[in-house]
Protein backbone atom coordinates (compact mmCIF):
# COMPACT_ATOMS: atom_id res chain seq x y z
CA UNK A 1 0.00 0.00 0.00
CA UNK A 2 1.49 3.28 -1.11
CA UNK A 3 2.24 5.84 1.54
CA UNK A 4 0.43 9.15 1.88
CA UNK A 5 2.62 12.22 1.71
CA UNK A 6 1.77 15.87 2.28
CA UNK A 7 2.42 17.82 -0.90
CA UNK A 8 1.68 21.07 -2.61
CA UNK A 9 -0.49 20.65 -5.72
CA UNK A 10 2.15 21.95 -8.10
CA UNK A 11 4.74 19.56 -6.70
CA UNK A 12 2.29 16.66 -6.97
CA UNK A 13 1.98 17.40 -10.69
CA UNK A 14 5.75 17.37 -11.12
CA UNK A 15 6.35 14.17 -9.16
CA UNK A 16 3.43 12.43 -10.85
CA UNK A 17 4.78 13.40 -14.27
CA UNK A 18 8.19 11.92 -13.44
CA UNK A 19 6.54 8.72 -12.20
CA UNK A 20 4.59 8.62 -15.46
CA UNK A 21 7.85 8.33 -17.38
CA UNK A 22 8.17 12.01 -18.28
CA UNK A 23 11.89 12.75 -18.32
CA UNK A 24 11.67 15.97 -20.33
CA UNK A 25 10.28 19.22 -18.96
CA UNK A 26 10.51 22.72 -20.42
CA UNK A 27 9.16 25.77 -18.60
CA UNK A 28 9.34 29.46 -17.97
CA UNK A 29 8.70 31.11 -14.60
CA UNK A 30 5.19 32.41 -13.93
CA UNK A 31 3.09 32.60 -10.78
CA UNK A 32 1.24 30.51 -9.53
CA UNK A 33 2.86 27.42 -11.09
CA UNK A 34 6.58 28.08 -10.67
CA UNK A 35 6.90 25.25 -8.13
CA UNK A 36 6.45 22.78 -10.99
CA UNK A 37 9.58 24.13 -12.68
CA UNK A 38 11.47 24.37 -9.40
CA UNK A 39 10.65 20.75 -8.57
CA UNK A 40 11.71 19.60 -12.03
CA UNK A 41 14.94 21.62 -11.82
CA UNK A 42 15.80 19.83 -8.59
CA UNK A 43 14.77 16.29 -9.60
CA UNK A 44 15.54 15.90 -13.32
CA UNK A 45 19.35 16.11 -13.12
CA UNK A 46 19.31 13.41 -10.41
CA UNK A 47 17.38 10.90 -12.52
CA UNK A 48 18.95 11.47 -15.93
CA UNK A 49 16.09 13.65 -17.11
CA UNK A 50 16.05 17.01 -18.85
CA UNK A 51 14.99 20.25 -17.21
CA UNK A 52 15.42 23.33 -19.34
CA UNK A 53 14.31 26.85 -18.48
CA UNK A 54 13.40 28.16 -21.91
CA UNK A 55 13.78 31.76 -23.06
CA UNK A 56 10.00 32.09 -23.35
CA UNK A 57 6.81 30.09 -23.16
CA UNK A 58 6.86 30.04 -26.95
CA UNK A 59 10.23 28.33 -26.98
CA UNK A 60 9.22 25.97 -24.17
CA UNK A 61 6.23 24.63 -26.10
CA UNK A 62 8.32 24.27 -29.25
CA UNK A 63 10.90 22.25 -27.30
CA UNK A 64 7.94 20.13 -26.18
CA UNK A 65 6.98 19.75 -29.85
CA UNK A 66 10.52 18.56 -30.62
CA UNK A 67 10.60 15.97 -27.83
CA UNK A 68 7.04 14.80 -28.56
CA UNK A 69 8.10 14.18 -32.16
CA UNK A 70 10.78 11.79 -30.91
CA UNK A 71 8.10 9.76 -29.12
CA UNK A 72 9.19 10.52 -25.55
CA UNK A 73 6.85 11.71 -22.80
CA UNK A 74 7.18 15.44 -22.30
CA UNK A 75 5.49 18.21 -20.33
CA UNK A 76 5.40 21.95 -19.96
CA UNK A 77 3.53 24.01 -17.41
CA UNK A 78 2.52 27.64 -17.13
CA UNK A 79 -0.26 29.92 -16.03
CA UNK A 80 -2.82 31.83 -18.06
CA UNK A 81 -0.76 34.58 -19.80
CA UNK A 82 1.96 32.03 -20.50
CA UNK A 83 -0.56 29.54 -21.84
CA UNK A 84 -1.74 32.18 -24.32
CA UNK A 85 1.83 32.35 -25.62
CA UNK A 86 1.93 28.58 -26.01
CA UNK A 87 -1.18 28.41 -28.17
CA UNK A 88 0.70 28.53 -31.47
CA UNK A 89 2.80 25.56 -30.45
CA UNK A 90 -0.19 23.67 -29.08
CA UNK A 91 -1.95 24.08 -32.41
CA UNK A 92 1.11 22.66 -34.22
CA UNK A 93 1.30 19.73 -31.79
CA UNK A 94 -2.39 19.00 -32.32
CA UNK A 95 -2.01 19.46 -36.09
CA UNK A 96 0.91 17.04 -36.14
CA UNK A 97 -0.97 14.46 -34.03
CA UNK A 98 1.62 14.37 -31.28
CA UNK A 99 1.06 13.47 -27.62
CA UNK A 100 2.18 16.00 -25.01
CA UNK A 101 1.01 17.25 -21.63
CA UNK A 102 0.42 20.93 -20.93
CA UNK A 103 -0.39 22.18 -17.44
CA UNK A 104 -2.28 25.42 -16.90
CA UNK A 105 -2.52 26.55 -13.27
CA UNK A 106 -4.91 29.35 -14.02
CA UNK A 107 -4.81 32.90 -12.68
CA UNK A 108 -7.21 35.78 -13.28
CA UNK A 109 -7.26 37.58 -16.64
CA UNK A 110 -7.51 39.01 -19.24
CA UNK A 111 -4.15 40.61 -19.98
CA UNK A 112 -1.65 40.38 -17.19
CA UNK A 113 -4.68 39.97 -14.92
CA UNK A 114 -3.71 38.93 -11.42
CA UNK A 115 -2.04 36.05 -9.64
CA UNK A 116 -5.05 34.72 -7.71
CA UNK A 117 -6.95 31.56 -8.75
CA UNK A 118 -9.26 31.55 -11.72
CA UNK A 119 -11.06 29.30 -14.19
CA UNK A 120 -11.33 31.92 -16.87
CA UNK A 121 -9.25 30.02 -19.44
CA UNK A 122 -12.13 27.56 -19.86
CA UNK A 123 -13.02 28.78 -23.36
CA UNK A 124 -9.38 28.78 -24.40
CA UNK A 125 -8.81 25.25 -23.13
CA UNK A 126 -12.01 23.61 -24.33
CA UNK A 127 -12.75 25.39 -27.60
CA UNK A 128 -9.35 25.13 -29.23
CA UNK A 129 -7.23 28.00 -27.95
CA UNK A 130 -4.93 28.21 -30.93
CA UNK A 131 -5.87 28.41 -34.60
CA UNK A 132 -7.56 25.67 -36.56
CA UNK A 133 -9.85 22.69 -36.04
CA UNK A 134 -8.64 20.76 -33.01
CA UNK A 135 -9.31 19.80 -29.43
CA UNK A 136 -7.29 18.99 -26.36
CA UNK A 137 -8.24 16.45 -23.73
CA UNK A 138 -8.80 18.77 -20.77
CA UNK A 139 -8.69 17.38 -17.22
CA UNK A 140 -9.75 19.44 -14.20
CA UNK A 141 -8.39 18.36 -10.81
CA UNK A 142 -10.34 19.14 -7.67
CA UNK A 143 -7.79 17.96 -5.07
CA UNK A 144 -4.05 17.49 -4.76
CA UNK A 145 -4.72 13.76 -5.17
CA UNK A 146 -6.34 14.48 -8.51
CA UNK A 147 -3.46 16.78 -9.47
CA UNK A 148 -1.30 13.64 -9.27
CA UNK A 149 -3.83 11.16 -10.70
CA UNK A 150 -4.99 13.28 -13.62
CA UNK A 151 -1.43 14.23 -14.58
CA UNK A 152 -0.68 10.53 -14.82
CA UNK A 153 -3.87 9.93 -16.80
CA UNK A 154 -3.08 12.86 -19.11
CA UNK A 155 0.11 11.12 -20.29
CA UNK A 156 -1.73 7.86 -20.99
CA UNK A 157 -4.59 9.53 -22.86
CA UNK A 158 -2.25 11.76 -24.88
CA UNK A 159 -0.29 8.70 -26.03
CA UNK A 160 -3.39 6.60 -26.66
CA UNK A 161 -5.11 9.18 -28.86
CA UNK A 162 -1.98 10.94 -30.23
CA UNK A 163 -3.13 14.35 -29.10
CA UNK A 164 -2.12 16.96 -26.53
CA UNK A 165 -3.77 16.76 -23.12
CA UNK A 166 -4.11 19.68 -20.74
CA UNK A 167 -4.33 19.67 -16.98
CA UNK A 168 -6.56 22.68 -16.30
CA UNK A 169 -6.10 23.51 -12.64
CA UNK A 170 -7.04 26.69 -10.84
CA UNK A 171 -4.41 28.49 -8.77
CA UNK A 172 -5.90 27.12 -5.56
CA UNK A 173 -5.09 23.56 -6.60
CA UNK A 174 -1.52 24.53 -7.40
CA UNK A 175 -0.88 26.26 -4.10
CA UNK A 176 -2.72 24.14 -1.53
CA UNK A 177 -1.19 21.23 0.39
CA UNK A 178 -3.02 17.95 0.95
CA UNK A 179 -2.10 14.34 1.64
CA UNK A 180 -1.60 12.46 -1.58
CA UNK A 181 -0.81 8.91 -2.64
CA UNK A 182 1.55 9.20 -5.57
CA UNK A 183 1.00 6.96 -8.60
CA UNK A 184 3.24 3.94 -9.13
CA UNK A 185 6.07 4.48 -11.62
CA UNK A 186 5.16 3.52 -15.18
CA UNK A 187 6.14 4.13 -18.76
CA UNK A 188 4.50 4.61 -22.12
CA UNK A 189 3.25 1.30 -23.48
CA UNK A 190 2.05 2.66 -26.82
CA UNK A 191 4.07 1.85 -29.93
CA UNK A 192 5.15 4.97 -31.83
CA UNK A 193 6.27 3.99 -35.34
CA UNK A 194 5.82 7.60 -36.46
CA UNK A 195 8.50 8.94 -34.09
CA UNK A 196 11.63 10.69 -35.30
CA UNK A 197 14.51 8.52 -34.15
CA UNK A 198 16.80 8.62 -37.19
CA UNK A 199 16.09 6.18 -40.00
CA UNK A 200 19.29 4.14 -39.35
CA UNK A 201 18.95 3.78 -43.14
CA UNK A 202 16.52 0.92 -42.44
CA UNK A 203 13.18 2.56 -43.13
CA UNK A 204 11.59 5.40 -45.10
CA UNK A 205 11.97 8.75 -43.38
CA UNK A 206 9.33 9.86 -40.93
CA UNK A 207 7.95 13.37 -41.34
CA UNK A 208 6.24 15.29 -38.55
CA UNK A 209 4.24 18.04 -40.12
CA UNK A 210 1.01 20.00 -40.06
CA UNK A 211 1.26 21.58 -43.52
CA UNK A 212 -1.16 20.38 -46.21
CA UNK A 213 -1.28 22.66 -49.20
CA UNK A 214 -4.02 20.62 -50.82
CA UNK A 215 -7.36 21.61 -49.27
CA UNK A 216 -8.78 18.15 -50.04
CA UNK A 217 -5.99 16.48 -48.09
CA UNK A 218 -6.20 18.95 -45.20
CA UNK A 219 -9.95 18.44 -44.97
CA UNK A 220 -9.53 14.67 -44.97
CA UNK A 221 -6.85 14.92 -42.27
CA UNK A 222 -9.13 17.05 -40.12
CA UNK A 223 -12.05 14.68 -40.60
CA UNK A 224 -9.90 11.71 -39.61
CA UNK A 225 -8.71 13.60 -36.53
CA UNK A 226 -12.29 14.34 -35.55
CA UNK A 227 -13.15 10.64 -35.91
CA UNK A 228 -10.52 10.08 -33.23
CA UNK A 229 -12.07 12.87 -31.14
CA UNK A 230 -15.39 10.99 -31.31
CA UNK A 231 -13.66 7.98 -29.76
CA UNK A 232 -12.31 10.23 -27.01
CA UNK A 233 -15.81 11.58 -26.35
CA UNK A 234 -17.18 8.04 -26.21
CA UNK A 235 -14.46 6.52 -24.01
CA UNK A 236 -12.92 9.24 -21.92
CA UNK A 237 -15.64 11.56 -20.65
CA UNK A 238 -15.27 11.66 -16.88
CA UNK A 239 -17.33 13.23 -14.16
CA UNK A 240 -18.42 12.78 -10.54
CA UNK A 241 -22.02 12.86 -9.34
CA UNK A 242 -22.58 13.95 -5.77
CA UNK A 243 -25.99 13.64 -4.06
CA UNK A 244 -27.73 13.61 -7.42
CA UNK A 245 -30.08 10.64 -6.64
CA UNK A 246 -32.87 12.81 -5.25
CA UNK A 247 -31.60 16.24 -6.30
CA UNK A 248 -34.06 18.90 -7.43
CA UNK A 249 -31.31 21.38 -8.21
CA UNK A 250 -28.05 20.54 -9.92
CA UNK A 251 -24.86 22.50 -9.44
CA UNK A 252 -22.26 22.07 -12.16
CA UNK A 253 -18.77 22.99 -11.00
CA UNK A 254 -15.17 21.79 -11.26
CA UNK A 255 -11.90 22.40 -9.44
CA UNK A 256 -12.08 24.52 -6.29
CA UNK A 257 -15.61 25.62 -7.18
CA UNK A 258 -16.81 22.01 -6.87
CA UNK A 259 -15.32 21.71 -3.41
CA UNK A 260 -17.05 24.84 -2.18
CA UNK A 261 -20.24 23.58 -3.86
CA UNK A 262 -20.14 20.33 -1.85
CA UNK A 263 -20.13 22.35 1.37
CA UNK A 264 -22.96 24.51 0.05
CA UNK A 265 -24.98 21.39 -0.78
CA UNK A 266 -24.81 20.28 2.88
CA UNK A 267 -26.15 23.67 4.00
CA UNK A 268 -28.87 23.62 1.35
CA UNK A 269 -30.00 20.13 2.29
CA UNK A 270 -30.23 21.18 5.95
CA UNK A 271 -32.55 23.90 4.69
CA UNK A 272 -34.59 21.27 2.84
CA UNK A 273 -33.43 22.23 -0.66
CA UNK A 274 -32.33 18.98 -2.28
CA UNK A 275 -29.27 19.93 -4.28
CA UNK A 276 -26.69 17.78 -6.01
CA UNK A 277 -23.51 18.26 -7.99
CA UNK A 278 -22.24 17.13 -11.35
CA UNK A 279 -18.51 17.73 -11.33
CA UNK A 280 -16.87 17.51 -14.74
CA UNK A 281 -13.45 15.85 -14.45
CA UNK A 282 -12.97 16.25 -18.17
CA UNK A 283 -14.26 19.56 -19.55
CA UNK A 284 -13.31 18.39 -23.03
CA UNK A 285 -14.92 16.05 -23.65
CA UNK A 286 -17.67 17.68 -21.60
CA UNK A 287 -20.03 15.40 -19.62
CA UNK A 288 -23.02 16.29 -21.77
CA UNK A 289 -24.85 13.02 -21.22
CA UNK A 290 -25.26 13.10 -17.41
CA UNK A 291 -26.37 16.73 -17.58
CA UNK A 292 -28.86 15.94 -20.33
CA UNK A 293 -30.24 13.09 -18.23
CA UNK A 294 -30.36 15.25 -15.09
CA UNK A 295 -32.41 17.81 -17.02
CA UNK A 296 -35.34 15.38 -16.99
CA UNK A 297 -35.26 15.15 -13.19
CA UNK A 298 -34.11 18.46 -11.72
CA UNK A 299 -35.82 21.85 -11.68
CA UNK A 300 -32.75 23.82 -12.69
CA UNK A 301 -28.98 24.07 -13.00
CA UNK A 302 -26.53 26.42 -11.34
CA UNK A 303 -23.13 26.78 -13.01
CA UNK A 304 -20.59 27.72 -10.35
CA UNK A 305 -17.40 29.13 -11.83
CA UNK A 306 -14.35 31.29 -11.21
CA UNK A 307 -15.01 33.35 -14.34
CA UNK A 308 -17.63 35.67 -15.77
CA UNK A 309 -19.48 32.56 -16.96
CA UNK A 310 -17.85 30.32 -19.53
CA UNK A 311 -18.76 26.70 -18.74
CA UNK A 312 -22.40 27.78 -18.42
CA UNK A 313 -22.57 27.77 -22.23
CA UNK A 314 -21.72 24.06 -22.31
CA UNK A 315 -24.22 23.37 -19.51
CA UNK A 316 -26.94 25.07 -21.56
CA UNK A 317 -25.99 23.12 -24.68
CA UNK A 318 -26.02 19.89 -22.69
CA UNK A 319 -29.43 20.35 -21.03
CA UNK A 320 -30.98 21.54 -24.30
CA UNK A 321 -32.95 24.42 -22.75
CA UNK A 322 -35.11 21.99 -20.80
CA UNK A 323 -34.61 23.75 -17.48
CA UNK A 324 -33.37 27.17 -16.36
CA UNK A 325 -29.61 27.60 -15.90
CA UNK A 326 -28.20 30.34 -13.71
CA UNK A 327 -24.68 31.50 -13.08
CA UNK A 328 -23.02 31.79 -9.70
CA UNK A 329 -19.54 33.11 -10.20
CA UNK A 330 -16.73 35.32 -9.05
CA UNK A 331 -13.99 36.56 -11.31
CA UNK A 332 -10.56 38.15 -11.26
CA UNK A 333 -9.13 35.82 -8.62
CA UNK A 334 -12.14 35.73 -6.29
CA UNK A 335 -13.77 32.45 -5.26
CA UNK A 336 -17.53 32.05 -4.77
CA UNK A 337 -18.11 31.13 -1.10
CA UNK A 338 -20.69 28.78 0.44
CA UNK A 339 -23.09 31.66 1.22
CA UNK A 340 -23.05 32.91 -2.35
CA UNK A 341 -23.72 29.44 -3.76
CA UNK A 342 -26.51 28.80 -1.21
CA UNK A 343 -28.08 32.13 -2.13
CA UNK A 344 -27.92 31.34 -5.87
CA UNK A 345 -29.67 28.00 -5.40
CA UNK A 346 -32.27 29.56 -3.09
CA UNK A 347 -32.98 32.24 -5.68
CA UNK A 348 -33.61 29.57 -8.26
CA UNK A 349 -35.80 27.60 -5.86
CA UNK A 350 -37.81 30.75 -5.15
CA UNK A 351 -38.14 31.52 -8.83
CA UNK A 352 -36.02 34.65 -8.45
CA UNK A 353 -33.03 33.48 -10.50
CA UNK A 354 -32.09 35.77 -13.30
Amino acid sequence: MAEKVLMKGNEAIAESAIRSGCLHYFGYPITPQTEVAAYMAKRMPKIGGVFLQAESEISAINMVYGVAATGKRVMTSSSSPGISLKQEGISYIAGSDLPAVIVNVQRGGPGLGGIQPSQSDYFQATKGGGHGDYHLIVLTPSSVQEMADLTSLAFDLADKYRMPAMLLADGTMGQMMEPVVLPEPKNCTVDKPWALTGTECKREHNIVNSLYLSPEVLERTNIERFERYKEVEKNETRWEEYMMEDAEYCIVAFGIAARVAKNAIKVLREKGIKTGLIRPITVWPFPTEPIRKAADKVKGFISVELSMGQMIEDVKLAEECKKPVSLCSRSGGMIPDVEKIVKSVEEMANGEAK
Binding site: H24, F26, V50, L52, A54, E55, S56, I58, S59, A60, N62, M63, V64, Y65, G66, V67, A68, A69, T70, K72, V74, E88, G89, Y92, S96, L196, T197, G198, T199, E200, C201, K202, H205, N206, I207, V208, N209, S210, L211
Partner: protein, 250 residues
Amino acid sequence: MAVVFEKPKSLTSKEFHYCPGCPHGIIHRLVAEAIDNLGIEGKAIGVAPVGCAVMAYDYFTCDMIEAAHGRAPAVATGIKRSLPENIVFTYQGDGDLASIGMAETVHAATRNENITIIFVNNAIYGMTGGQMAPTSLPGQVTQTSPYGRDVKTAGYPIKVAELLSSLDAPYYIERVAVNNVKNVKHAGKAIEKAFRNQMEGKGFSLIEVISACPTNWGLTPQKALQWVDEKMIPYYPLGVYRDKDKEASV
Protein backbone atom coordinates in the same frame (compact mmCIF):
# COMPACT_ATOMS: atom_id res chain seq x y z
CA MET B 1 30.07 4.43 -69.11
CA ALA B 2 31.18 5.61 -65.65
CA VAL B 3 28.88 7.86 -63.67
CA VAL B 4 30.93 10.84 -62.58
CA PHE B 5 28.29 13.02 -60.94
CA GLU B 6 25.42 11.71 -58.84
CA LYS B 7 22.62 12.96 -56.70
CA PRO B 8 23.65 12.76 -53.04
CA LYS B 9 22.15 9.76 -51.24
CA SER B 10 20.60 12.03 -48.65
CA LEU B 11 18.38 13.82 -51.17
CA THR B 12 15.09 12.21 -52.18
CA SER B 13 14.07 12.01 -55.86
CA LYS B 14 11.35 14.60 -55.32
CA GLU B 15 11.69 17.56 -57.68
CA PHE B 16 12.50 20.85 -55.96
CA HIS B 17 9.69 23.40 -56.04
CA TYR B 18 12.16 26.31 -56.02
CA CYS B 19 12.12 29.04 -58.69
CA PRO B 20 14.52 28.84 -61.62
CA GLY B 21 17.94 30.14 -60.60
CA CYS B 22 17.24 29.85 -56.87
CA PRO B 23 20.32 28.73 -54.92
CA HIS B 24 18.26 26.73 -52.38
CA GLY B 25 18.86 23.71 -54.63
CA ILE B 26 22.63 24.19 -54.33
CA ILE B 27 22.45 24.64 -50.57
CA HIS B 28 20.24 21.56 -50.14
CA ARG B 29 22.79 19.63 -52.13
CA LEU B 30 25.66 20.89 -49.96
CA VAL B 31 23.80 19.82 -46.82
CA ALA B 32 23.06 16.39 -48.32
CA GLU B 33 26.69 15.96 -49.43
CA ALA B 34 27.89 16.81 -45.94
CA ILE B 35 25.50 14.22 -44.47
CA ASP B 36 26.69 11.64 -47.02
CA ASN B 37 30.38 12.39 -46.50
CA LEU B 38 30.03 12.04 -42.73
CA GLY B 39 27.89 8.89 -43.01
CA ILE B 40 25.16 10.31 -40.74
CA GLU B 41 22.10 9.87 -42.96
CA GLY B 42 20.59 7.32 -40.58
CA LYS B 43 21.17 9.48 -37.53
CA ALA B 44 20.23 12.88 -38.93
CA ILE B 45 16.98 14.67 -38.05
CA GLY B 46 16.22 17.88 -39.91
CA VAL B 47 14.00 20.78 -38.92
CA ALA B 48 12.35 22.68 -41.77
CA PRO B 49 11.39 26.35 -41.36
CA VAL B 50 8.48 28.45 -42.51
CA GLY B 51 9.55 30.20 -45.68
CA CYS B 52 10.64 29.02 -49.11
CA ALA B 53 12.29 25.93 -47.61
CA VAL B 54 9.14 24.91 -45.74
CA MET B 55 8.92 21.71 -47.76
CA ALA B 56 12.55 20.73 -47.18
CA TYR B 57 11.09 17.75 -45.31
CA ASP B 58 10.24 16.23 -48.68
CA TYR B 59 13.77 16.65 -50.05
CA PHE B 60 15.98 15.05 -47.39
CA THR B 61 15.91 11.30 -46.85
CA CYS B 62 16.50 11.59 -43.10
CA ASP B 63 13.72 12.00 -40.51
CA MET B 64 12.26 15.51 -40.74
CA ILE B 65 9.97 17.84 -38.82
CA GLU B 66 8.30 21.08 -39.85
CA ALA B 67 8.59 23.86 -37.24
CA ALA B 68 6.44 26.94 -36.70
CA HIS B 69 7.86 30.19 -38.08
CA GLY B 70 11.13 31.00 -36.33
CA ARG B 71 10.89 28.19 -33.78
CA ALA B 72 13.24 25.71 -35.44
CA PRO B 73 16.10 26.20 -32.92
CA ALA B 74 13.68 25.49 -30.03
CA VAL B 75 12.30 22.41 -31.81
CA ALA B 76 15.85 21.26 -32.57
CA THR B 77 16.74 21.79 -28.90
CA GLY B 78 13.89 19.50 -27.85
CA ILE B 79 14.92 16.81 -30.32
CA LYS B 80 18.62 17.01 -29.43
CA ARG B 81 17.91 16.89 -25.68
CA SER B 82 15.72 13.85 -26.29
CA LEU B 83 18.15 12.10 -28.66
CA PRO B 84 21.68 13.35 -27.90
CA GLU B 85 23.24 10.68 -30.14
CA ASN B 86 21.38 11.86 -33.22
CA ILE B 87 22.51 14.69 -35.48
CA VAL B 88 20.00 17.53 -35.49
CA PHE B 89 20.02 20.41 -37.95
CA THR B 90 17.76 23.30 -38.88
CA TYR B 91 17.51 24.91 -42.29
CA GLN B 92 16.14 28.46 -42.00
CA GLY B 93 15.74 31.66 -43.97
CA ASP B 94 16.36 35.24 -42.89
CA GLY B 95 12.80 36.13 -41.91
CA ASP B 96 12.47 32.88 -39.97
CA LEU B 97 15.79 33.05 -38.15
CA ALA B 98 16.61 36.74 -37.84
CA SER B 99 13.16 38.27 -37.41
CA ILE B 100 10.46 36.17 -35.79
CA GLY B 101 12.90 33.56 -34.48
CA MET B 102 15.62 35.82 -33.12
CA ALA B 103 15.00 34.88 -29.49
CA GLU B 104 15.14 31.15 -30.27
CA THR B 105 18.32 31.66 -32.30
CA VAL B 106 20.18 33.75 -29.72
CA HIS B 107 19.24 31.49 -26.83
CA ALA B 108 20.11 28.25 -28.64
CA ALA B 109 23.46 29.89 -29.42
CA THR B 110 24.09 31.08 -25.88
CA ARG B 111 23.31 27.60 -24.53
CA ASN B 112 25.87 26.30 -27.03
CA GLU B 113 23.14 23.87 -27.98
CA ASN B 114 24.82 21.01 -29.84
CA ILE B 115 22.95 21.52 -33.11
CA THR B 116 23.79 22.68 -36.63
CA ILE B 117 22.00 25.63 -38.20
CA ILE B 118 22.03 26.36 -41.91
CA PHE B 119 20.93 29.98 -42.21
CA VAL B 120 20.09 31.12 -45.74
CA ASN B 121 20.28 34.89 -46.09
CA ASN B 122 18.88 36.22 -49.35
CA ALA B 123 17.77 39.59 -47.99
CA ILE B 124 14.08 39.10 -48.73
CA TYR B 125 10.95 37.14 -47.81
CA GLY B 126 10.64 34.81 -50.77
CA MET B 127 7.64 32.61 -50.12
CA THR B 128 5.23 35.45 -49.42
CA GLY B 129 6.34 37.26 -52.55
CA GLY B 130 9.21 39.61 -51.81
CA GLN B 131 8.76 41.65 -48.65
CA MET B 132 11.48 43.43 -46.68
CA ALA B 133 13.54 41.04 -44.54
CA PRO B 134 15.56 41.84 -41.41
CA THR B 135 18.57 41.43 -43.69
CA SER B 136 17.32 43.56 -46.63
CA LEU B 137 20.01 46.10 -47.51
CA PRO B 138 19.62 49.83 -46.89
CA GLY B 139 17.80 51.26 -49.88
CA GLN B 140 16.70 47.83 -51.13
CA VAL B 141 13.36 47.97 -52.91
CA THR B 142 10.90 45.28 -51.84
CA GLN B 143 7.12 44.97 -51.78
CA THR B 144 7.01 46.46 -48.27
CA SER B 145 9.84 48.94 -48.83
CA PRO B 146 8.68 50.20 -52.24
CA TYR B 147 10.78 53.38 -51.95
CA GLY B 148 13.80 51.45 -50.77
CA ARG B 149 14.57 50.38 -47.20
CA ASP B 150 14.69 53.64 -45.26
CA VAL B 151 16.98 53.01 -42.30
CA LYS B 152 15.38 55.95 -40.43
CA THR B 153 12.05 54.16 -40.18
CA ALA B 154 12.82 50.50 -40.97
CA GLY B 155 16.18 50.26 -39.21
CA TYR B 156 19.35 48.61 -40.38
CA PRO B 157 19.89 45.04 -41.52
CA ILE B 158 20.85 42.52 -38.88
CA LYS B 159 24.26 40.92 -39.32
CA VAL B 160 23.57 37.55 -37.78
CA ALA B 161 27.08 36.11 -37.84
CA GLU B 162 28.54 39.22 -36.19
CA LEU B 163 25.70 39.44 -33.65
CA LEU B 164 25.94 35.81 -32.55
CA SER B 165 29.72 35.92 -32.37
CA SER B 166 29.39 38.58 -29.66
CA LEU B 167 28.15 35.75 -27.40
CA ASP B 168 30.64 33.72 -25.38
CA ALA B 169 29.05 30.34 -25.97
CA PRO B 170 28.69 29.44 -29.67
CA TYR B 171 31.35 27.13 -31.05
CA TYR B 172 31.50 27.88 -34.74
CA ILE B 173 30.00 30.65 -36.87
CA GLU B 174 30.97 31.24 -40.47
CA ARG B 175 29.47 33.26 -43.32
CA VAL B 176 29.77 31.78 -46.80
CA ALA B 177 28.22 32.42 -50.21
CA VAL B 178 27.09 30.25 -53.11
CA ASN B 179 27.37 32.71 -56.01
CA ASN B 180 30.35 31.10 -57.76
CA VAL B 181 32.07 27.73 -57.93
CA LYS B 182 34.83 28.70 -55.54
CA ASN B 183 32.39 29.96 -52.95
CA VAL B 184 30.11 26.94 -53.36
CA LYS B 185 33.04 24.58 -52.76
CA HIS B 186 34.07 26.47 -49.67
CA ALA B 187 30.47 26.62 -48.40
CA GLY B 188 30.30 22.83 -48.64
CA LYS B 189 33.39 22.50 -46.45
CA ALA B 190 32.00 24.91 -43.87
CA ILE B 191 28.67 23.07 -43.74
CA GLU B 192 30.45 19.75 -43.31
CA LYS B 193 32.51 21.20 -40.47
CA ALA B 194 29.33 22.46 -38.81
CA PHE B 195 27.96 18.90 -38.83
CA ARG B 196 31.27 17.36 -37.75
CA ASN B 197 31.39 19.72 -34.77
CA GLN B 198 28.06 18.32 -33.61
CA MET B 199 29.25 14.74 -34.04
CA GLU B 200 32.23 15.61 -31.86
CA GLY B 201 29.95 17.17 -29.23
CA LYS B 202 31.48 20.62 -29.66
CA GLY B 203 28.24 22.58 -29.73
CA PHE B 204 26.42 25.30 -31.60
CA SER B 205 27.50 25.73 -35.21
CA LEU B 206 25.81 28.14 -37.59
CA ILE B 207 26.64 28.69 -41.24
CA GLU B 208 25.17 31.86 -42.72
CA VAL B 209 24.86 31.29 -46.45
CA ILE B 210 24.58 34.42 -48.55
CA SER B 211 22.11 33.41 -51.23
CA ALA B 212 20.10 35.07 -53.98
CA CYS B 213 16.47 35.48 -54.91
CA PRO B 214 16.29 36.25 -58.63
CA THR B 215 12.50 36.12 -58.67
CA ASN B 216 11.86 38.63 -55.91
CA TRP B 217 14.93 40.75 -56.59
CA GLY B 218 13.57 41.12 -60.14
CA LEU B 219 16.87 40.05 -61.67
CA THR B 220 17.98 37.26 -63.98
CA PRO B 221 19.81 34.44 -62.18
CA GLN B 222 23.13 35.71 -63.57
CA LYS B 223 22.47 39.32 -62.54
CA ALA B 224 21.32 38.14 -59.11
CA LEU B 225 24.64 36.37 -58.53
CA GLN B 226 26.40 39.52 -59.62
CA TRP B 227 24.30 41.51 -57.12
CA VAL B 228 25.50 39.13 -54.40
CA ASP B 229 29.08 40.06 -55.29
CA GLU B 230 28.50 43.77 -55.65
CA LYS B 231 25.96 44.50 -52.88
CA MET B 232 25.50 41.61 -50.47
CA ILE B 233 29.06 40.48 -49.79
CA PRO B 234 30.40 44.02 -49.16
CA TYR B 235 27.66 44.46 -46.52
CA TYR B 236 27.95 40.89 -45.21
CA PRO B 237 31.67 40.06 -45.36
CA LEU B 238 32.40 36.37 -45.74
CA GLY B 239 34.60 34.58 -43.26
CA VAL B 240 34.90 32.76 -39.96
CA TYR B 241 33.40 34.78 -37.11
CA ARG B 242 33.90 32.21 -34.40
CA ASP B 243 35.82 28.99 -34.35
CA LYS B 244 36.73 27.64 -30.96
CA ASP B 245 38.91 24.99 -32.65
CA LYS B 246 41.28 27.79 -33.61
CA GLU B 247 40.91 29.70 -30.35
CA ALA B 248 41.86 26.55 -28.47
CA SER B 249 45.02 26.11 -30.51
CA VAL B 250 46.15 29.73 -30.07
